[in-house]
Symmetry: C2
Subunit: 312 residues, 2 copies
Amino acid sequence: MLVTLAGGVGAARLLSGLVQVVDPADITAVVNTADDLVLHGLHISPDLDTVTYTLAGLDNKETGWGLAGETWHVMERLEALGGEHWFRLGDRDLATHLYRTQRLSEGATLSEVTAEVAARLGVGVRLLPMTDDPVRTRLTLAEDASDGQEVSFQHYFVRLAHSVPVRSLRFEGAEAAGPAPGVLDAIESAAQVICCPSNPLVSIGPLLAVPGVRPALEARREDVVAISPIVAGTALKGPADRLLAELGHESSVVGVARLYVDWAGTLVIDEADAALADEVARTGMRCLVTPTVMGTPERAAALAKVVIDAPR
Amino acid sequence: MLVTLAGGVGAARLLSGLVQVVDPADITAVVNTADDLVLHGLHISPDLDTVTYTLAGLDNKETGWGLAGETWHVMERLEALGGEHWFRLGDRDLATHLYRTQRLSEGATLSEVTAEVAARLGVGVRLLPMTDDPVRTRLTLAEDASDGQEVSFQHYFVRLAHSVPVRSLRFEGAEAAGPAPGVLDAIESAAQVICCPSNPLVSIGPLLAVPGVRPALEARREDVVAISPIVAGTALKGPADRLLAELGHESSVVGVARLYVDWAGTLVIDEADAALADEVARTGMRCLVTPTVMGTPERAAALAKVVIDAPR
């Protein structure tokens, strides 16, 4: 059994590689939910949906989010009504949010709803939200940019197009949250734990903030393999590089290693960063150099193969 | 100034006739909200939407509900996910519900949202929900049909296709509700109050149950003109005829007159019921006989003309 720690797009890509080399039924993905939002009354779980849609083969490969062949009738009309339309929700994607919101209102947990949607879409990987409780990433913007306003993750990420500097972040509700059923058991009993190439601060960070998860990972440190989402100093997608720098970390594989060293034994870095392998090793992590950019399904599968064969 | 008491389709038809013969800016419609429901987390106001869409010229004339030229991408996907799909929500219609739900979550009142949507869609009539408070029609089904189960209005009307007998009904929340801002003022100051050909029990009934509305109407009794929704003993649409019979009333213009006589001075009945005009008059209402079936815009306008010219 494998456990993956997952954010959105990067994690979805790695998982789509893993299912080519491992039986999907042997994979559990623990997915970030601190990006979730309630908008128009609907409970939206962007990372869970990205992973689910990708594993179902329904993902929109051009945009990197949402569904392929999507239509936008609701959104166009909402815009005409003067409604909030900065968070783009396609017609078919909306059905997922309607389903989730209705089931939650009936008393189902997010874990249960996630499993139901995955089963309906034929996803063989077991998908677990990191928690069934509300945990929300809140970012305080740098003072010169916005008077130190605190905003939600999606406000920062989508509405502001993650183009403003951030001074600090926190995971609202994390202290009171518990890991979703099965999360700690999965980490404890897994043959290997794979930390996907997701944003260390706002995708993996929330998972570590859920009480019990970090100690569980520390106890399995030698079997935890992380893939750096930073390649040659930059993030392939999203603001991970800038966030690392703005929040006092190094935007490099070395910076990632310093964040992960306490609970991950191995860091997989891209060939572009081969010159930094020794420095990564000096943080205390084993370092594995391999192509990590998953431009094609074949490359994703090749990376997955390297990861599951990583020496421990 | 005219005030109309409105349910859904029948009221929308009469209003579309009235705006042909009266300046829309001189018309206030007080609309039933006891059919409202929250589904998929969305606040849906079927009667307000039917009236709004019809006056905006966007109504689907074939189905009698929803928008013309509608698409169903969300619903099709929701059905594929195993979600609740008995209440059909078109893509463009959904945008209204997303807009309303978001605005309500921001603290706007239903009155404010209703005015915003109407303004965006170019509706000149002033539309007021009967109340900004939650009032919900609840129907107890007859025991032989369902063990006396109590259900929501839309459960009865849509999910059960109003095909089961009803034993009783109540308007949950009515005692604690207040009329929406402007409702009582409009009734008090109107030159005429028109009770649309809507279901007496589940469309007009909730309006009368909002504290203050019935006394306000009684005080204006001589200027209140009602149009019977019952023609030749049957409802043109919906279950008004069966509901009247099941709940101990006569399913006829006479039964309608007995329900309205305390607060309406005149009842307009269809030519098909001309033989009952004297019996209506014996209830204490003036009775006006004219074609009331609004099959075309011209017929709706002709009926509207008769109503506003009704002798008082």
